[in-house]
Subunit: 326 residues, 2 copies
DNA sequence: GTGAAAGCGCTAACAT
DNA sequence: ATGTTAGCGCTTTCAC
């Protein structure tokens, strides 16, 4: 099968009887070319099936009109919302989005940041696992917006964990809980640290005892270990690092015949797909992931160089939390 | 903040005291350059933080080392597996993957196929909504591999629906069901058509009555309408276009106090994230989406031009299906 | 084995 | 308003 050679700007120029620069302008600065000529050029281009070659365009301008989104785990539905939001915002702005999976690996994240650099105009890095100085160094080369991670000097979009964790604690306290266990995720997780810090502050204010256990894997697979530990210690309310872990915990508790929420209340973070139809439906702190994804892309495009955008969160109370059985 | 200018091949050549062509060769044809020179060049390049510019490379060669994946709906977890598999296969092969959402729109799919064309070396188009001739036309310009869609002349990766649907019908028949209702998805859906065709054949062979209703939206939102219709007609077993719809149906049945599976059995397709922890856990035909994604990318890279790869499916029997209450 | 030089398709001065 | 021309960073003949 022989593929047709793509029409170039030169082909269009020749067919339209104008210079290549006119064709170029007709596409990039329509107002800077006579209306009639523009019409004509555009029509000829269309007939020839001409589509500008972004690689060639990138060479002259240095801008690729492409943005990269780095996520730690493509299979985690939490990031689906972010991807969707980012993709929409990029598409709206006429940019192409490249999505890459860092597989929770700082090395791979670092590698992508350098190898993709010449190919893109900037990065949205979600839940970065990189140390602050590595991020700042990368930011000296490329435009970077952080998502659910913040470090001084870099623009970031984060969930408002301060208010969010307070909502969680108030909810549990109002149900009569006086102590809670935080089932923590990876030690290096920035959002995990913020969640725990917020919970602690809120607990202190509201007279609730809080302890942190873990780390547990922030996946369904982390559930059994976390659930067993909570059970062994007689916890009556657990707050999990994220929904994946929380759902894993729920499943393990069901296996072991433990009643939720009568025996133990379970709360998660993220409100991922599935949190409302697992059993029992999960009480969780919802983040506006679509908005976060599109906000991050927006910052990237507007060339923001600093500042933290905090997005509101919302506690979704479902059946996994309730008053402790006395 | 002034960003450092990226080192170019010229910088490396100058610093290493060789010609640019030697630097180029050191990267692209390591064996065609003296080992010592190569070492030296590579070391200098590393010191300068040189990373080849893919856009420039693309101009000379015409290959961008970038592949595009088009999906109808990024928020559908079914496609998460495909994205993951495709991304892994692309990364393994040193390619970059671009993911775009067609939003179930043939027009947008068409548009992406042409506008992205010069930017990528080929497309994986998942669950294409385009008519056969539009696909063939696109394939004359770009390299295309279809996923869960097939049309003569184009390479494709599909699930083995023939065997899969038979497993579904055998399962229901073995439980004592003598009739089933297929709650169909979008009319234009190729996989929907194959699923229905397979169900019909299997039903004919096994003496089961089958009727098709719909179309319903293949989303959670499609559930209520589909469930209500099934209920009104007294269906005892429904097979849904996909898991999203099936879970929507499940939720609606729960709302209406209908017992699953005693009153009605529900079966889905895809085994998406959540299918095993919704309530009751959903019996569904699992497709190997990760494998499908990576297989499609593999075909793209190996420049396959035709042939259908059928991937095995597996029925996951869970609690949503059972014998009808007599 | 290595260098010199000609493009790849496009944009952006600079002319006209 | 439009044409001319010089690159952008890299690969690739073609010489040496």
């Amino acid at each position: 099968m022989t593929r047709e050679r793509r029409a170039t700007i030169t082909d269009v120029a020749r067919a339209a009887g104008v210079a290549t620069s006119t064709v170029s302008r007709a596409f990039t600065r329509p107002q800077r070319v006579n209306a009639a000529t523009r019409e004509h050029v555009l029509r000829v281009a269309d007939e020839l099936g001409y589509v500008p070659n972004p690689a060639a365009r990138a060479m002259g301008t240095g801008r690729t009109q492409t943005l990269a989104l780095l996520v730690p785990d493509l299979t985690n539905p939490f990031f689906s919302g972010i991807i969707t939001g980012a993709e929409q915002a990029a598409a709206r702005a006429g940019r192409t989005l490249v999505v890459a999976d860092t597989q929770e690996s700082p090395e791979r994240e670092q590698h992508l940041l350098t190898s993709l650099d010449p190919a893109v105009d900037g990065f949205v890095v979600a839940a970065s696992r990189l140390p602050d100085d590595a991020l700042r160094e990368a930011a000296a080369r490329s435009r970077i917006v952080l998502l659910n991670r913040a470090t001084p000097g870099l623009p970031a979009v984060v969930a408002d964990y301060e208010s969010g964790t307070r909502q969680v604690v108030e909810h549990l306290a109002s149900l009569g809980h006086r102590e809670l266990v935080f089932l923590g995720g990876p030690v290096g997780s920035w959002s995990g640290a913020r969640r725990w810090a917020g919970l602690q502050r809120a607990c202190a204010d509201l007279g609730v005892q809080a302890v942190r256990w873990g780390p547990y894997s922030p996946t369904l697979a982390g559930g059994p270990g976390a659930a067993d530990a909570a059970l062994a210690a007689g916890a009556r309310a657990v707050v999990c690092h994220n929904d994946m872990l929380a759902i894993g915990v729920l499943r393990r508790l069901a296996e072991r015949g433990v009643a939720v929420p009568a025996d133990i209340s379970v709360v998660g973070f993220d409100d991922i797909f599935g949190a409302d139809f697992c059993h029992p439906p999960l009480t969780t702190l919802a983040e506006r992931t679509r908005d976060a994804g599109s906000a991050a892309v927006g910052l990237l495009i507007s060339a923001e160089t600093d500042g933290v955008t905090a997005l509101p969160t919302e506690l979704r109370v479902r059946a996994s939390s309730g008053p402790p059985r006395s």
